[in-house]
Symmetry: C2
Subunit: 578 residues, 2 copies
Amino acid sequence: MAGTMLPPPRPLLAAAGALSFCLCSSLLLAVADARVHNYTWDISYQYKSPDCFEKLAVTVNGEAPGPTIRATQGDTIVVNVHNKLETENTAIHWHGIRQIDTPWADGVAGVTQCPILPGETFAYKFVVDRPGTYLYHAHYGMQRVAGLNGMIVVKVPDGIVEPFSYDEEHTVLLGDWWHKSVYEQATGLTETPFVFVTAPQSLLINGRGTFDCSLAPSGTCNASSPDCGLRPLFTAVPGKTYLLRIGSLTSLSSLSFEIEGHSMTVVEADGYYVRPFVVKNLFIYSGETYSVLVKADQDPRRNYWAASHVVGRNASQTPSGKAIVSYAFKGNNPWIPPPTAPPAGPAWNNTVIRVQQSRAIFAHPRFVEPMPAGADRTLLLLNTQNRIDGHIKWTINGVSLIFPATPYLVAMKRGMTTAYDQRPPSDTYDHMSYDISAPAPTNGTVRSPVYRLALGSVVDVVLQNSNMLNNKSETHPWHLHGHDFWVLGYGEGKFNPAADAWRLLNVRDPIMKNTVPLHNDGWTAVRFRADNPGVWLFHCHIEAHVFMGMGVVFEEGIERVGKLPPSIMGCGQSKGLH
Amino acid sequence: MAGTMLPPPRPLLAAAGALSFCLCSSLLLAVADARVHNYTWDISYQYKSPDCFEKLAVTVNGEAPGPTIRATQGDTIVVNVHNKLETENTAIHWHGIRQIDTPWADGVAGVTQCPILPGETFAYKFVVDRPGTYLYHAHYGMQRVAGLNGMIVVKVPDGIVEPFSYDEEHTVLLGDWWHKSVYEQATGLTETPFVFVTAPQSLLINGRGTFDCSLAPSGTCNASSPDCGLRPLFTAVPGKTYLLRIGSLTSLSSLSFEIEGHSMTVVEADGYYVRPFVVKNLFIYSGETYSVLVKADQDPRRNYWAASHVVGRNASQTPSGKAIVSYAFKGNNPWIPPPTAPPAGPAWNNTVIRVQQSRAIFAHPRFVEPMPAGADRTLLLLNTQNRIDGHIKWTINGVSLIFPATPYLVAMKRGMTTAYDQRPPSDTYDHMSYDISAPAPTNGTVRSPVYRLALGSVVDVVLQNSNMLNNKSETHPWHLHGHDFWVLGYGEGKFNPAADAWRLLNVRDPIMKNTVPLHNDGWTAVRFRADNPGVWLFHCHIEAHVFMGMGVVFEEGIERVGKLPPSIMGCGQSKGLH
C-alpha cells in the first residue's frame, strides 16, 4: 500500500497556475492591511430557551450561538477565553482555520492543549489566512452539544474580486438540540447497557427552533419565549441576490436545507470556490460550510420558508428547523409565517441524491488548487464498531481513540514517550477479506496512538465505511484539523486499491475541503499535503462518535513547531513543565 | 482586639493531664500496628434514583454515597482518585482529618491543590491520627451537591478502652437531595435576578430517600426502584446497645434525627468524647458527626422509625428522611414499616431547643483537651450578605471569598505574590456600631485574601451572625480545615468583647470540634492553636453559601510545609512549575 496510490497525474488545468499567482498577491495585499481583532469571551452556563424549552446552555458572553467573528484575510484574531463554568473545563476549536505556525491554538483539549480550567483565561491567537466561511465550537468531551458554537467569516481583501457577485450576505448557522444535558448523553454512551443519544428534540437555525411545548413537563417550556420560534432569516428585496454563508454544527444530524420556492447556487465550500451548481436542497454535514447565492425572484407579496430537515437518519420525531425569508414589499410583515405549509424535505433515507450532490462538487475552474500527482503514503481506514470491555466503541483500523491526559502536542514536542501510545496504528486493514456488511470484528482496543507523517509528504486517506453492530451503515462527516484536503472521490461498497477505484478518482479539479462525508455503505478518498508542523486530529464530526473513539491523530514536523506557550500545559505529565 | 481575649485561665481539670498521657500511649500503640489502606476510586456520573427520581449523580465506583473508609488510629489511607467525569474536574476533602504534615492532601481545589482533571489520577495519602467519626466529600465548586460523599470511621487501637461500651456499631449518613443538577443550582446563584436553591426534594439516610413520584414528570421517577424507599437501618436485638456513628453531609439543611421511641445518648462529637447526654432529637448540622448509643429496650414485636427532618429553615415541601429500625424478633419482617405514623419532628423554627443542645456539649471529664489560657489574636468575623455588582454574596468582614486560579498553598509556598490578594482581610468589623438586625452594608468586595497566623499561636474566632438582605438570620455550620477548635460558647445578639461575653465562655471543659453552628441572631466563639503548617479553609458548610463567598483562609507556618507534590499543581500560575 505504500508509495503512490494514484496513476501518474493528468495535466492540471492551466488555470491552476494563474490561481496560484492570484492567491499570492491577495495574501500580500491582506498582510499589508492586516488588522488584529481582539475579543474577550466569558464562557458560562446560562438558562436558554432556543426551542422554547428552558435548559442550561454553554454560552459566549451570555449568548448561544456566540458572536460571528468577522475579519479579512490575513488578519489576526485574538480571543481571550475566560472560563466561568465553575467546575467544567473548556477548549475552543477554530474550525477550518489551519493554524499555520500556531498549532497550539487549534483548541482541541487532549491534542493541542490542556483544557482551560474554571477561573482561568486562555488567549487564542491565530491568523485567518484564507477567505471563506468557517466555524468555531467547544472541542472538549461532548461539550459542543451544550451550545458553544458560532461562525467565522473571512472576507477577501479590498480589490480582490470573487467569482460571483451579490448584493448582501447573511450567515445561517444550523444546529440540532436536545433537552437532556451533555452529561446525560455522555453517561448513556458509557454505561452498560449502552444508550445512544436520542433524535434531537429540535433543529436550530441561527440558534432558534420550535418545539411543541405541550410535550414538555409543565413549567419547563414557554412557547412565547422571545428566544425561540419563527424569526425572519433575512429580508429579500425583489431582484437582489443574497449570499448565504451556511454552516452546520449539528452534534448528530446530517441536514437538508432549503428555501421554499427558491433555488440556491452553491459557490463556496469550506473556504474554496466551487464550480457553481444549483440545488433545491443543500445537503450539509456537521462541520461543513457552503456559501450559496439566492436571488429574490419570487412573488414579493408573501414570505417563504427557510427549513432544515434531518437526513440519513430516521428522526421523524424531530420537528424541522424553520425560519422566514421575508420580502421587502409594501405592507408585508416580515414576521408573518408564509401562507404555505413548511417544506417536508427530502426522504431521510434517500442516500442516492445525497451522494450525487457530494459528487457534484468540483473546484471552480479558475480556482483549482494544484494537487500533487501521487501520494507518498496511503492510509486505508476502516470505520467500524467494536464491543470493547462491554462498551460499544467506534474503531478506526481496530483502534478506538482516547485522548491522553497529556496533550499530544506537548508530549511529542517534549519527547514524553510514556504520555501516549508509542505503538503506531495500522495504515491499513485486512481489506482483501474484510466483509463490510458483516458484524464488526471483536479485536478492537482503546488506545492513544498517532500516525507520524513525514513533513511535506503527500498522504492519501481512504475512509471505508462498514456496518455497525446493528448491521446498518450511516454517514459520517470526517473533519481534518490543520489542513484542507483534495476530495478525490466517493464510491460505493468496498474500496479496492488494486482495481477500478482509480477510475473514480478526480485528479483534474477536485475541490478542497476540511470536512467530507463518508456515505453509508461506501468510501471516500482524500489527499492532503502534510506540510503544517503540529499534531492534528482527524475525526468524525458527530459528537457522540468521536466521544466513542472515532478519530485518528496525525503528527508532522513536530521538531519544526515553535516554542510551546506555557498556557497550553498543566495537565497530565505537563504539570511540571515550563 | 489583639492579644488575649479571655481572662486568665481557670485551672484545667486534673483529668486533662492524664488524658494527655493516655493519648500519647494510644498513638504509640497505633503507630506500632499502623497499616496502609489502599483504595482505587473511579469518579463518574451515573444514573441513580436515591429518592426514586432518576438523575445523574457523581459516584465513587458507581455508588453514591461512596464506601465507608474503615481504619485504625495511626493508619495511612491512600485513595487513588481517577476522574472519569469527562469534562468536569474534582477534588475530595477528608473532613475532620487534620492532615498533619500533608496539607496538600486536604482536597480543597483552589486552596490546597489544583483540581483533578478528567482522565487524571490523583493520590491522596494521609494518616488518620485520631479515632472518631469523619467524613469525605467533593470540595470543588458545589460538586458535593451531586453526591460524592461518604464516611470515615477510625477505631481506637486494640487495647484502648473507650469511655462507653456497645454491642455493635452502624453508620448513619444524612443528606439532602435535589432533582436539579449542580449546574442549575449554581447558575441560579450567579444569574440576575438571583435564584436561591429550592428546598430539597428529599432527605437521604444512607443514600436513600422517598419522593412522591406522582409529582414528577412521567418516566422520571420509579417508586419501586430498588435504589430508593424504606430500608432497615439496622436490626436491634432486644437488650443490646448500638453505637450509631451519625454524620451529616447535607448541602443546605440543618437536621433533627431521631429514632422513634428510643432515646439516644450522645458520646462523641467530631472525633472527641463528650460528657454523655441524652436526647430524643439529635440536632446535627452539615459537616458534623456524632456518635450516639441506642439501647434496644422497646417492644421487640414491631419496628420503629428512624427519621430526619429539616430544622432552622421552612422546608415543609421536603418529606422527612425515613428508615426502619427493626427488632430481631421471631416472625418480625425487618422491611415492614412501623405501625405508627412517622415522627413529625420538632418545629422547624424552634431555635431555642437547638441552641440548648449546642450548649449541652462538653468534653468528657476524663478527656478534656488542655486549652491554652488565652489567645494571641482574636478575629471577630461578621457574617453578612452584600449585594456586589448586582449579585448577592456572603461576606466575612466585608470580603466575599473567591478562590484564586492558583491554589493558595502553592502560591504561598512558592512566593507567587500576584496569585492571590496580598491585602490582608480585617481582624474585626465595626462591632461597636454595626446593627446586626439592619440591612447589610454595601461596601463588600469579592477578593482572595488570606489571614496569616503566627505558627503555634492561639487564635480566638468569634463568628457573628447578622441579618441577610431579606432581614432574616439563619444557622450556618462553620467548618475549620486542618484543626480542631475548642468551642468556647454561644450567645445571642451581638458579641461584645469588652463586656459580659466573657462570662459565657466555657474554659473549663470545652468540647473540641471541627464544625460548629453559628445560630441565627447570635454568635459562636472558638479557639484553636495554629500549629499545623499549611493553608486552611474555614467556611460555612452550606454549599450554596461557600459558593457565594462565605469563608476565609488561614495560613500558618508555610515555610515549614514540606516539598509540595507536583500532582497538586498545573493550574493558574502553577502551570509552569516542577
